[in-house]
Amino acid sequence: MIHRRLLELAGAVPGAIIALAACGTVISALHVGFAFTLAVVISALIRGEGDVVPAFLLLAILTVARGAAIWGRELLAARIGASVRIRLRARLLDRLAAVPAAERDSGATATTVIDGVEGLDPYYTRYLPQLLVVLVMPALIVALVWAQAPAAGVALAVTVAVAVCAPRVWDARLLRNGRARWERFTRLSSDYVEALQQIPLLRAFGAADRTAVRFVAQAHELRSSTMRQLRLSLVETGLSALAMHLGTVLAALAVLAAVTTGSADTTSAVVVLMLAGECFRPVQDLGTNWHAGYLGLTAVDGLDHLLSTPRVSAGNHDRPASHGTVEVTEVSYRYPGARTGVTDLSLRIDAGETVAVIGPSGSGKSTLARLLERDIDPDQGNIRVGGTDLRDYVPEARCRSIVVVPQDPVLFAWTVRDNLRLYRPDATGIDIERAARAVLVHDVVEALPDGYDTVLAENGEQLSGGQRQRLAIARALLSPAPVLVLDEVTSALDTDTERGVVDGLATHTSGRTVAIIAHRETACSHASRWIALREGRIAETGDGAPAGHVVTMPESL
């Protein structure tokens, strides 16, 4: 079965498929040549006449050629398979960023990008080429047999046709069942990922065993689904095996009948015996390759879904902002299915200012941070940084214009040094240390087994929440961007550390525009101005750092 969408997905592979098919045809032809020559030698031996030495030498040559051709095909298939995988995976990865945050499912995506792509390889490198071989070789062999004994040719033609065509009847259904199986497989993998990331949570709530029980049920459902699908495909295999065995037997009997009536000779009989098996070899290989290949076919939905995610548009302004002015003009944004967001929000932060953004939970502070980072785009209005609309920047320039440290920063399982260099890959050791010292995390890093070269556990699990937050701030401090947005980045720090970090920040960000989103007045003691948000709108503004009562009693606003 040829899946047009899959061919499109793989890009320019027809040439490669034809090359592999040619390889397969050569190997099949070598098999046929060998079988034919062998038959001639055997019949010569039976008749006890003729010189078999030249034929014997030919057999030796064919043997070597076949061995070499088989090796060559494997090499070629591996190479083509690798290039298909590399290209397809690159195209899938290219779309990752376009998936909206609320729809991200890392486990499922990983299954699509890793297992799905891996499973497609045999479809391109085994099944499709073999399909072409099957179109050519069996017909050729039937013709050869026909020439020896027409009745045997007919027997072979009929059974081969059955072996090739019968399984196709179920292909569509097989594929449908297969998709259901793939869906389950993806679901299960994705559930494993989430559970394994959250085992402490599950254990704390006594939910780990319940989860385990659920997974066992899911694993067994996956098994039933797999078996449902195998029920069809194994019947297919059985049918082709039946056609093959019967075809071989009937063709041989037909030629023997001809021998007894004198219309065929010994050679014909042995030739037919040897060729009949060869006639089914490509068909059997097709069956095997189909089984290896169609699992990949079932992954096509996931691939297609990811590939058809529209890319986030970007402008072509390729120079980072030269100054840190932030202008938010009449911006509205509403989360799908939620009441929160921001409404008709306008504010301006001048270059070099440090402004505190305060307000109760759900007042739109983090939404503002996401908007400034262009993690989301406004429904209405526009945001300009350095005088340019965020949507007009090329991504690289936008990243060098504004940096946002989110509430729950993610650290990567890289070295501490590489983590700190995230926003400035060319930062020197001195730069890195200075940033780390500024936010009081240098000593923490030094205490790790390999200092700055310590490879962090996933999301920096061996660190405390406050240590993680400080690494994330240090990381942002290294960025050359003129605008820095800090979204509650000191929430996990004790008061003393927080004071030190806030002071360090103030010294290291002089001249830059800083927006500090916070609940505590201690987090924004260096602010020259404050903006209080309430229900997605500006409720009040003031000069200087927000006084304790403003932060603690937002009801009064």
Partner: protein
Amino acid sequence: MRTVLRLLPIIATRRGLFIETVLWSAVTQTAVLGIALGLAWTVGHVVAGETISLPGAGVVLCGIAVLAAVAAWRESWVSHDLAYRLIATLRGEVFDALRRALPSRTRHRRTGDLTTTVVADIETLEWLYAHTAAQALSSLLVLTISTIVSITIAPLLILVWVPLLIVGVAVPLATARRARHDGERLTRGAAALRSELLDTIRGMRELAGSGMLDAQLERLSHATRMLARTQAREASRLGAERGIADVALALAALGAILIALLDRASIETAHIPLTVTVAVAGLGPAAQVADMLRNAGTLRAATDRITDVLAEPPAVTDAPHVRESTRARESGLVFDDVGFAYDDASTVLDGVTMHVRPGETVALVGPSGVGKTTAARLALRMWDPDTGSVRIDGADLRHIADVELRGLISTVPQSSPLLRGTIRSNITLGDPDADDTAIHDAATVAGLFHPGTGLPDGLDTLVAEHGAGLSGGQRARVALARALLGNPRVLVLDEPTASLDTEADSAIMDVLRRSPHRAVLLIAHRPATIAAADRVIHLDGP
């Protein structure tokens, strides 16, 4: 090979299916051999001019053909049923091992790595269970038949196919080291790729916001390329070995011809086709075994990783029946001279003693990284302390059955992690059967229905991966409702209100203090939050 053998005993749990697979496989292989030999025999005798009943031969051979097809179908059905049952069982065992072993004190393995084991590595075993184990056994039968036929028609024939059979098995054995090496690299590479990909998606905001996304994607592509290089190497080895196996089959035919040529007198004319056929068929079992050996590298690597996970020691071991140490008059949460270290190098907690009495809220404060979260985790019995003990109402946590313990204690973990689903499914994490009133009460207390919280779909609001879709404050409230649902005796709160505004914070602290029976251990930084506690304990580190 030894590691692979370690996973064979699991077959014993499905002995019936395994025996059936062996039987059908034996029938299939014998029938296929029977067709080949029968045809060769018939053709040989007819062309040698002997009269045999063609219809009779036809009926017998067609009968065997039908038998071969039916047996092949049955064999593959039973063997796959066996394999997928074993795989499902093994998945359960591996996840069980992990849920007991995690969180690990020292060995931080990445999620992608573990997921690869439970998803992909186990799937590799399908090949062992469905296509190899039983077939290797039944091929012994084929070997016996071939030997008998060979000896009957031309004893010298053994000299042709037996050496080739040995070659067939020896070649994959000779390359086993490289196969193992490549197998390990492939599984390790696949696991690393998955880990890195999971991290990329999780940290998408950081990567996109720092302009490093392209570099990271290139890193992933690079990993794919490195993986592809190993795969190509592996394919080259497999291809060469397949080529050699194919040459061996051809050589068997040639050898048979040679014997027929040299020893013309001792072989009947009618047996010449049979001679060639049996020489080739004799190699069948070798092909089966060689195929197993060829793939042993990948199989071994996968098996190693699976057994490695299965051997992970549990984070804590249950001993619920030893209860003699219960101190009858003690109530609330007690840390008694608790010492704990993640590894030998650094002690985190040393001689920590504290007592949180029912009705009391105790704030645990101290600089970040001093071990507050570790203390919280010990209270929740993620691990047991190295020295001293943690007790609830006088009973050492080590002696409380897990089910009971989870009913006594609950928590709001740091940064309020949520699971995919709805707010309701998150709240009922500890008790899926909780009634609506209880859920409603917990949610109300946590302020989820407060208009400012902004959840129009209420409890049915969808929660995406890592709590995406909710704000920090909303997440904190859901986590709080989840902790309150079972009305626990002890509550461990790790910065529960860090992302809430002060008003919401104090409202919640008020509610928490209302219960006279509950002991609350609170890790907090905000002075106002700390001030709401009855007592403050400073943790200064060892």
